[in-house]
């Protein structure tokens, strides 16, 4: 790893620098508003390192949620990460011990950078990936700490700052909507959850909603999966 790698990796991470400083600061502010100082903010950003997961974490800490609730809701919020790894299997192969950190640090933003960015000529690809991931997390930790310190220094009314989580999901949804081949999964997810909210109530809505979504999407596979027919043909030799 050298200057050249840094010179290649840093420009790629600048959008994440701005985003993470801002969203990290909002996290630090929120955590501060429920009584946890800068040490807690930095600790969570070092160990958990998940944007929406940590926003959720603030709500869970504020509500004094049980560890079972914490585990289940964290799983729900981070469920999409199960998918990210699938597209990184090849990229991370042969990275040795650093691979563990690459897996740990696979956030939405780092995933987005790594799936599109390429190491320039003469720069080791694995060094480049590692540095992109490391820079991203350093912005996140820094943003959280700044937000926490600002919150305690200014002491302003943070009521409503938790809307950042809703806004984050909406922003992700807009991006997905624009690039999706079919809008059926998104509409199905919204409708199933709304039905579950009305049937099961706000406390227990997520598990039934998720079950309906997975079952419905599995049943809809002939319609939604372009590979479905080809696979059918192949399975009859």
């Amino acid at each position: 790893m050298n200057q050249k790698t840094l010179a290649a990796a840093f420009p790629v991470t600048v959008p994440v620098l701005m985003g993470y400083l801002a969203i990290g600061m909002a996290f630090g502010l929120m955590l501060q508003s429920i009584g946890y100082g800068v040490g807690w903010a930095a600790l969570m950003s070092l160990l958990i390192y998940a944007g929406s997961g940590q926003y959720l974490g603030v709500s869970l800490l504020a509500a004094g949620a049980s560890l079972t609730q914490v585990a289940f809701l964290t799983l729900m919020v981070n469920f999409r990460h199960l998918v990210y790894g699938l597209s990184m299997l090849e990229k991370f192969r042969g990275m040795g011990p650093r691979k563990l950190y690459m897996i740990f640090s696979l956030t939405d933003e780092t995933y987005a950078l790594l799936s599109s960015a390429k190491a320039p000529e003469g720069v080791d690809e694995h060094d480049f990936f590692f540095l992109v991931a490391l820079l991203d997390q350093s912005y996140w930790v820094l943003g959280s700490a700044i937000g926490s310190l600002l919150g305690s220094a200014l002491g302003f009314d943070t009521t409503g700052v938790d809307f950042a989580m809703t806004a984050l999901f909406l922003v992700i949804a807009v991006g997905q909507w624009k690039s999706a081949g079919s809008h059926l999964p998104a509409l199905l997810g919204g409708a199933a959850t709304l039905a579950s909210l009305l049937a099961a109530g706000a406390e227990d809505m997520l598990l039934p909603a998720l079950a309906v979504i997975v079952i419905a999407l599995t049943l809809l596979r002939p319609r939604l999966d372009p590979d479905w027919n080809r696979e059918e043909e192949k399975s009859c030799p």
Binding site: L47, G57, F79, H81, V83, L170, V171, P185, A186
Partner: protein, 111 residues
């Protein structure tokens, strides 16, 4: 701080563990050179939009009717997030703009 420091540390450890697990699972299951089952790849493609839609509804579960203050702030700020994002396409502007607007609405306009 409704929890003790020890309880908080336990909650943070669970969040960190579960988050790492969701990121590591594909590698644990499929990082052996062979291809993951087609159904898994398919679900991997179609689940994320459905899950995000689920989480949006979950975030809005506290909306109440008919009092204006119960539903107007999330509706207005939510629309602002979507429109800002369609217009500028910048995560930072969309999330921050919508959140600040929401804070103004709940603290000032509909307080």
């Amino acid at each position: 701080m409704p929890l003790t420091p020890a309880q908080t540390l336990a909650a943070i450890a669970v969040m960190a563990g579960v988050t790492f697990l969701t990121r590591a699972l594909p590698f644990l299951l499929f990082d052996r050179g062979d291809h993951p089952p087609k159904l898994v790849l398919y679900l991997g493609r179609v689940l994320p939009p459905a899950i995000i839609a689920m989480l949006i509804v979950y975030c809005l579960k506290g909306v109440t009717f008919p009092a204006l203050g119960g539903w107007a702030p999330p509706l207005i700020a939510g629309l602002a997030a979507v429109l800002l994002h369609l217009w500028k396409g910048n995560d930072l502007i969309s999330i921050f703009g919508a959140t600040v607007l929401y804070m103004v609405l709940v603290q000032g306009v509909f307080a």
